[in-house]
Symmetry: C2
């Protein structure tokens, strides 16, 4: 199964968080599974906040990219996933996230309109939900397509 990020148009595959063409980036890969979208990611040792725990900015980044993939998942046509961008990001850090274990990120759409989707997400480490998030995704505006198109 191909990741949703592998189905973005090539001009929009440079994202630092999930672009398959960004060799310096995180290259998050999200997969549709039933009504959810799921990704796994193992942070690197340098991705710490304080020793032993994952940097909150990385967690926000993972949630952000995964939400765009979740918004796109049900609108894939002809093996092309539409590119969404983030309008608003809300992340609640419920517990410190341990650095070391693989993280599981899950998302599902809670609201949908033609141009917008609201996505609810969790990050889980070793079976414990450490982060809850809600992200508003909008279809990429024409003003952002000028340089990429």
């Amino acid at each position: 199964m191909r990741a949703i990020q592998e189905l973005y148009p090539v001009d929009f595959a440079h994202c630092f968080g999930c672009g398959i063409s960004n060799s310096s980036g995180h290259q998050l890969k999200s997969y549709a599974q039933d009504q959810e979208v799921i990704a796994h990611f193992t942070p690197s040792p340098q991705h710490m906040s304080v020793p032993g725990f994952v940097y909150g900015g990385l967690l926000a980044s993972l949630v952000d990219c995964h939400a765009m993939a979740t918004a796109a998942a049900s609108e894939i046509q002809n093996n092309i996933a539409p590119r969404f961008v983030t309008a608003a990001l809300r992340v609640d850090y419920l517990k410190p996230t341990p650095l070391g274990p693989v993280l599981e990120i899950r998302g599902h759409v809670t609201e949908r309109s033609p141009k917008k989707a609201v996505v609810a997400l969790t990050v889980t480490a070793e079976g414990i939900v450490t982060v809850r998030a809600e992200v508003v995704a909008v279809r990429i505006p024409k003003t952002m397509e000028i340089l990429g198109g």
Copy 2:
């Protein structure tokens, strides 16, 4: 003038976003100025979302670390800044942020209790506010000090 991040205890100076000891990280530096805390940061070319624009996850990361510094700014004693961690992050992307110009991040505390501070922030590029954020910072819990202490 020293940056607030230069005043964190050495055990807590490894943060990917702002730790002076994290050579792989962003090393954001925030400075108190009157009632505000200000940082400047120039994203690298690879920090893109789509070509021409800054990755939202990076913007969330900058806001996150800058908020912790803003929470600490008024509580520095004997050249040591207390370490806060993020409880909640809310980021509104008002406009796409152009990739290239130096960004200015400004924060100020809007609510304060002994263990908590709420920080309001903006990110500005070329004189235009592109991001507004609100971050809840809490003093680092004892459970996160075990490995760092």
